[in-house]
Symmetry: C2
DNA sequence: AGTTAGCACTCTTTTTCATAGAGTGCTAAC
DNA sequence: GTTAGCACTCTATGAAAAAGAGTGCTAACT
């Protein structure tokens, strides 16, 4: 990979990202001032194809970048470019206007991402079990039931209706809450230390109430393991010429509707900061011609959520990465603020 | 509209719903045993077109039903058919397997509807302000803040972080909660009787705490006026031949992403029980070639939510209506159960 | 040895044209 | 009132031709 090959590859990737059309040697020579003739470019292209950076649809159409080509472009050619001040200001303004509740932060984040990039965006809201336990309270409902309200570090409140076991009174539950609060304060929900359960059991005494307590904690965990997924831009996506085929669109929409699947895909891609996964590199076979960029946000060093862009491999990586990076910082900050 | 015209119109609508192709006289005569020749059918078709029940794309293609044609079909020709026992059993089973929390009832309802009808489905979860106030509680958070938990009749719990005004203690808040609970129990949130506010004010005494109380109630209302909208089947929809055109699909997806808009559309269509709105009849211009069927569910006579199917005017009305009717009853029941 | 011009060849896209098929509308006969 | 027949219209389909873009290779050039 000498200097010239690099420049030509870069030009091809850029052109293709812009035009969505296979790039030929002549056009390339005309548009970019590479200082060599189309013939030379053709030779270089043949080399680049041999090396696996480019692909050929058929004998006589221009080249398109392969996954490897994009990979090289993203890793070695893209200067990390921060988002422009104007865009930042716009985003901040949008947030201020739209966001009234914590839920909406995620929704609007997804919206902004899809608007700016023209692709599908996904936002995984913080997982409760990754957040630390803060406090558990009960509210009386009637003689048989109470509402358990569970709060975490990240500003989330979860509630659940729980039946009172026979013979237990609301006061028993209050006591149970006190014990649990004392024991679990600050503990991460997905890693309850085994000792703490024993301690709770000992403190509570009554076996039936202890079972109820465990039940509540487990139920909350159960539900919250499925973090909320916010999707945006399914309509936007159709502007991309690669989705002119309705069948393909259908496949993708069906995929997007499988929340479980999308969560799995996002989890698989989580890394440190920005992660780019290009075409073939994706594990899921329905995404072999898609690229996924993810960014993760943290709270106190602990990973609690993910935002992502998904689009055709021919994607404006630079823009998407800069945006994701910014939104990520933003989101971390917002979640931070909601911490108490 | 004599007997024969009616039969012919019915045959055309059914054929068109099934095939999505304009229906011609010859084919119609062959498939249905109408006892008359194609020529007669042609004459009748011409009449039906004159009367506005049928339409013509161009001189020599078969007829397709107009909005008026569908309307006649739906109103006068469709026998109200309940859902088959097998389907019902399937749905009930599905619910049992999938639904673990109240949220999921709505999500899965949307999913079932879109699966069965092959169209987009929408479910509006109960509005809090249509439900009756049940109880307000506070949980201490830190020295400056508390969590207000608001519960309603319909089984929903809403929480919100509220700052304690200067000089107020948590005990003041507890007292305030007591007053509010006593005063507002059973009152519908969107119609707080003016007298009750005065009463609360008098009881609380302290002006600042009173303001905080009002603030909390208002904020909750504010947020809950936007009931949750669950969407399903955007992928399913693409199986319909009328959506072979990507541009059209894009428009619809963009429309569906506008939650506000969708809510408005649903609200506009709400009636008693099943409502069918066909093509032109729709107010929103992006839905002029779509039909929307809605059903509303109630709690104690009060309307609290809506479920809907949206698809091309060429829709299996019979199936969709039967399904919606069943799901509706089901949902009313579920919400009822969650009542306390 | 690297670079370039030239040219034959390939493959796609677009256009044109002809044809087949489905359907209508009208007239005249039943 | 119903039907058969027929001319006419419009669409869909497919073949063939032409245009366009691009490659790969060879030979010439620096």
């Amino acid at each position: 990979m000498d200097e010239r090959k690099t420049r030509i590859l870069e030009a091809i990737v850029k052109d293709y990202i812009e035009s969505a059309e296979p790039v030929g040697s002549r056009t390339l020579a005309r548009k970019h001032d590479l200082g060599v003739s189309p013939a030379t470019i053709r030779n270089e292209m043949a080399d680049l194809e041999m090396l696996g950076y480019l692909e050929h649809i058929h004998t006589s159409s221009g080249r398109i970048p392969s996954s490897k080509g994009y990979r090289f472009y993203v890793d070695d050619l893209l200067p990390p470019r921060p988002l422009g001040a104007r865009e930042k200001a716009l985003i901040d303004k949008w947030y201020r206007a739209k966001v009234k509740a914590i839920d909406e932060v995620f929704k609007e984040t997804a919206r902004i991402i899809s608007r700016v990039t023209g692709n599908v965006s996904m936002v995984l809201a913080p997982q409760m079990n990754k957040a630390a336990f803060r406090c558990l309270q009960f509210l009386p409902l009637d003689d048989y039931r109470a509402i358990a309200v569970l709060m975490t570090d990240a500003g989330f409140v979860e509630n659940r209706i729980v039946p009172l076991p026979d013979g237990a009174s609301f006061e028993d539950f209050q006591r149970m809450a006190r014990v649990i609060n004392d024991t679990l304060a600050g503990v991460t929900l997905d890693a309850l230390p085994p000792g703490s359960l024993k301690k709770i059991r000992a403190e509570i005494g009554d076996e039936e109430i202890y079972q109820a307590a465990i039940e509540i904690i487990n139920r909350s965990l159960d539900n919250e393991k499925k973090e909320r997924l916010y999707l945006g831009g399914t309509g936007e996506m159709l502007s991309q010429p690669e989705f002119r085929d309705v069948e393909r669109v259908k496949e993708i929409l069906l995929m997007l509707e499988e929340e479980e699947l999308m969560r799995d895909i996002l989890h698989a891609h989580v890394g440190n900061g920005l992660t780019v996964s290009i075409g073939q590199e994706n594990d899921y076979k329905g995404a072999k011609d898609l690229s996924i960029i993810t960014a993760t946000y943290r709270l106190g060093g602990e990973l609690i959520g993910t935002i992502a862009v998904m689009g055709p491999t021919r994607m404006e990586y630079e823009k998407a990465m800069a945006l994701l990076d910014y939104m990520n910082g933003h989101l971390s900050e917002v979640v931070q603020k909601f911490r108490w």
